[in-house]
Symmetry: C2
Subunit: 667 residues, 2 copies
């Protein structure tokens, strides 16, 4: 084999790892038009197994990219949770039924679809929006990382502080071995019961002098999993402990007389451990089973050779008895030991970032792994995009660790509590204090579901979230207060249910021009734009109309904001006057529905809180907690999180909006 | 050029024309696994213009094939109709707003999307379900048709009574010329203002001795448009008259201060004619404009050279004044003279069939053309499929003409009334009897919308619809009574809103096994199967349970029906007992949820009328008009139309079901 000359090239953002986190980041790069590369050491994408649960917030995010419908159509929908545990005679019975998602929380419910399909949706999206210029480079992995410390603070366009040597593997090298020579696919090569193979891969490839290249990058993101090579290069740690619980996972088409096999079930047996049932697409059911008979050895790690699909189903059969449970078809299986750990750092000098499993590992039972990982990257991607494009100030990059490390800490705390309750033996009676009370379990499960939905995330104060309080305390300790000169105060009381730091909630409104009902959140696309959401109030009142006109006049003439309008800052209006009595051209200033000489007026920016013919009444003002007469102004970040709430009043209202953007945009 | 030897081949069904009707038929062929071919004389599919409105019934049909979501997502949704006409001073004003679709009629509303996208959905579907074996053969057209009269009555598998010579054109020959050398696409080559070019195409190709082939077919369907070559070979006529009304059609992005440009509008000017506004996808708006200044000449045909986009927009400007209306971008335009005609025959000896524009032409204003054409083919396709596969008796083919010619006659009658009201000058006052009363127009419009939705279609009595009355009178005059020995009586009163001859209406029910809400109609897929829909009633009542058991015992042991179960006859159950109190395996006989040794029990066949967590209560029994205690049995045809309603009672109920299938299936 000839040794190719090592080539050298530049890119703005280098992404390592093409799992859900890496692909989410790449999706943002495509949407923001950033020159990025994404590499993955594996030669093929995933076709079965791995993560499966899609939480409400993930579906909202998919919707903002335009592909929630694909997931919704293909997935299994989980509607109800059934809890099974022993009655006073030790006989297994259903003790409770609860809805999987609390009614009214979101327009979505929790669904289940295997990771390979979700990665497909991302790949299609990235292809479309990058015009096929951004593709996952498979069987490619980084071998060395150098950071020019003297350059990290210099965010001028021509500066590339990061140098990475990439190694290209052969297909054979990049294909993980399956255990036991079985034809059933397993996920052990990704499990924490197996040693990571990255160093081996590099070592083996080196021996035969494979092809390498040098990439200079402005920013780098390690989405390279629990064994993260990137994290190791930075010298960052995961803090926490592995637990003693060993779990097996089996994707099968079950043959059973258990009546709730198509429900999400938590089954606590009297003394044989616990089982979680997750019904999936294509008749599959995922069984999560605690393997009580397999214990970690002195090294703290269990012997994985003891674990086979047969070990797992046998354990499940004991738990679910007297019901029968067998299978003919197994799609995938794996096993792991629960570890609950959080990265010490998510960010190296605002230049190299870590996301997903690289900075948090925990049990998969609440269906959080893929969701939180994608949401890490969803938080980081637009910030990187706007900084690379020279639109936003580099200081916003610090909010990534502040916001997401705090979420990871909360997640681990939740998982710790939940795992203990799930894995514990059910209490025999009220005196059995070593056992777990099933009433406590139910309570924790129901409360935990709100956390698990992803909708309770509440980012702390920062230059991106104009709320009161200490930025370090509200985040992970990082200082993200920005310059004191640009401090802006919100007036949360003007929109009591549009909560600063939380995602913009969704209620139905109608398009003013064609009366079509939309969930308002559907208009907040992930296109890299901030949004000024104008709750314009009763525009038919002359007094309110003059406040609106004054605000719009300030908006259209602002030397700071006006140049960004439509391009980096979108405007959406929702008014509360009767739809049939208002007219777009007559009642709304032009800045709210701009004119283009080829395509005419914009008919898609002004909405109304009014009753629809076919889909009821969203009652949006009431549900958003906004006064129908006087309205208010909201700013959402490109990820739909709320940055500012203030009054619509002419100069006063305008000062808040201007102040917010002064702290964020490059002036 | 060498002259290739004429090759000869066989197929079961030859489809001529790959517009919406031809593609719908091909979709059925793919779903039924029939060896079919589909040819079209044009070399490319449509990319803009042509038909656009998708009615409720068409969307339900798309849903049964699994692609309504694609249309729903891409289309513009029409929600409201605004009526504009002169006030007492002759000034144009909005007189009324009405919903485009009456609330409660369907889970869909009317949408607008151009024909090219709809054809794309069909092509993708055909490709998937035929495993890419059925493709549209473009630039191919029939040149001769021979029917072996002595063979037409012989439906044995080896008999091919039809011989067609197909001619393959070059790309150049098959590309229609555009008028005026304009770069804007127009549809004049398909308009009735232009002579048909089929004979020219054949003649020109003959001169250079192009390639031909001989195809022997069992059945043939002409979906070849208003100038249908197939119809001419059979010597069948279109009956009716062209009218004097000349209309122009313009797809533009309008620049206008007219406030309702994104609504569906009917605009009657005082004396400049009428305009219909149809808002479309991608900011386009379609304008239908009556061209009063262009009159047919003595030959009855207007001079098309007088008609340009400029003629059309000028006419529109006069009608819509004092509002301004211009455009920079025109996507497509055409012009036509309204003709209202119905074919004398839809069927030649149950061997050659005509569908779509080949057998009915009318004005496009009610958005009916593409919809009724697709619905013709939707009616015919499964019948042909089941006869070719030897499952159904060939006599059912006669119901195609009986059912669809009657619909075409009703359509022409509707269009005649509606066109007159639309094209007429508005009455100045109550004494102006020559003018059209705008109150009458509104009334007709609203009533007409129910007809236009496609949901009011009510097929007459036949061997496929077990209802009382004269089959000839209820259809187009064709005798489709079948053998008197197999006459079956329904009991409509057992399901008062599941109307014999109409489509199965849709209300929400829950899957018994996973509590997921579905519109019940979503379970009636277009897979070529009849369905026994068992309204099982209150299965927790011992009396009702024993009736259900007796019926299921008869079903699973019937020598006529049992061999067809699941393969050609699907069973869906909907019961009315509380979901949480019932269990699939305990309360329902096995025939309702069959067991498979690899995939276990079927969890997708039993549904319940109960409240959902997130999507309300469908109240299905009440809405279907079925008694909650005693239920009933319904049979739907593969096209979702209702063929039979009867009691669930053991022998009695069973006799009706058995009798229905005896008259339809090959025994």
């Amino acid at each position: 084999m000839t040794v190719p000359e090592t080539k050298e090239s530049k890119c703005d953002v280098l992404i390592v790892g093409a799992g859900p986190a890496g692909l989410m980041l790449a999706a943002w790069m495509a949407r923001c038009g950033v020159n990025a590369r994404i590499v993955d050491k594996r030669s093929t994408k995933i076709f079965s197994g791995q993560a499966d649960g899609l939480q409400l917030r993930s579906l909202e995010i998919f919707d903002s990219f335009g592909f929630s419908d694909r997931a919704w159509k293909e997935a299994n929908h989980m509607i109800e949770i059934c809890m099974w545990n022993p009655d006073e005679n030790g006989k297994l019975r259903r003790s409770d039924r609860v809805p999987d998602v609390q009614p009214g929380l979101s327009r979505f419910t929790q669904i289940v679809l295997h990771q390979g399909r979700i990665e497909r949706f991302f790949l299609d999206h990235i292809k479309k929006h990058s015009k096929d210029t951004l593709r996952v480079e498979r069987a490619v992995l980084p071998e060395t990382l150098d950071i020019a410390e003297d350059l990290v603070g210099d965010h001028s366009p021509g500066t590339y502080p990061i140098t990475v040597k990439l190694r290209h593997l052969t297909d054979e090298e990049a294909t993980p071995a399956q255990s036991n020579g079985s034809s059933t696919r397993d996920g052990l090569f990704r499990s924490n019961l197996t040693e990571d193979d990255t160093d081996d891969l590099i070592q083996k490839s080196r021996e035969k002098e494979g092809s390498t290249e040098i990439v200079k990058a402005k920013y780098m993101v390690g989405c390279d999993g629990a064994h993260s090579w990137t994290r190791r290069q930075l010298g960052f740690q995961l803090e926490g402990e592995p637990t003693d619980f060993i779990w097996g996972v089996l994707d099968v088409i079950p043959i059973t007389d258990f009546p709730d096999i198509r429900m999400r079930c938590a089954v606590h047996s009297a003394s044989s451990g616990s089982l979680m049932v997750i019904p999936r697409e294509n008749k599959l059911v995922r069984l999560y089973i605690q393997l009580n008979e397999i214990k970690p050895d002195a090294s703290g790690r269990a012997d994985r050779s003891q674990i086979t699909p047969n070990t797992i189903i046998k354990a499940a059969q004991k738990i679910i008895a007297p019901y029968s449970l067998t299978y003919e078809y197994c799609d995938w299986w794996t096993a792991y030991q629960i570890g609950q750990r959080v990265g010490t750092n998510f960010d190296y000098n605002s230049r190299v970032f870590l996301a997903g499993d690289a900075v948090h590992t925990h049990s998969p039972k609440a269906g959080q792994g893929m969701n939180v990982s994608m949401q890490d990257a969803f938080n980081l991607g637009w910030k990187l995009g706007l900084v690379v494009k020279g639109i936003a100030q580099p200081s916003i990059l610090k909010t990534y660790q502040s916001e997401r490390r705090r979420v990871a800490q909360d997640l681990i705390e939740f998982d710790h509590k939940f795992s203990r309750l799930f894995s514990g033996r059910p209490a025999k009676d009220i005196m059995d204090t070593e056992g777990v009370s099933m009433a406590d379990f139910k309570d924790a499960f129901v409360k935990g579901n709100l956390f698990a939905s992803g909708l309770s995330v509440d980012y702390g104060a920062s230059m991106l979230v104009a709320k009161e309080g200490n930025t370090a305390e509200q985040g992970d300790g990082t200082d993200v207060s920005g310059s004191s000169k640009t401090h802006v105060s919100s007036k949360q009381e003007l929109a009591t249910n549009v909560k600063l730091g939380m995602r913009f909630p969704s209620f139905k409104v109608l398009n003013q021009s064609d009366a079509r009902p939309w969930h308002f959140q559907e208009q907040l696309k992930s296109d890299g734009r901030f949004r000024i959401i104008l709750f314009a109030g009763n525009v038919l009142s002359p007094q309110q109309k003059s406040r609106l006109d004054a605000f719009c006049a300030a908006l259209s003439t602002s030397s700071l904001v006006a140049p960004h309008l439509y391009k980096n800052i979108d405007i959406l209006t929702c008014h509360s006057a009767p739809r049939a009595d208002t007219e777009l051209l007559r009642d709304f200033p032009e800045v709210l529905h701009p004119f283009d000489k080829t395509t005419g007026w914009d008919y898609d920016s002004v909405y109304v809180d009014d009753v629809s013919y076919h889909e009821g009444f969203g009652d949006a003002y009431k549900n958003y907690g906004v006064d129908k007469e006087t309205g208010c102004v909201v700013i959402t970040r490109p990820d739909q999180y709320i940055g500012y709430v203030g009054p619509l009043d002419g100069e006063d209202g305008w000062a808040g909006v201007q102040g917010y953007f002064r702290g964020v945009l490059v002036n």
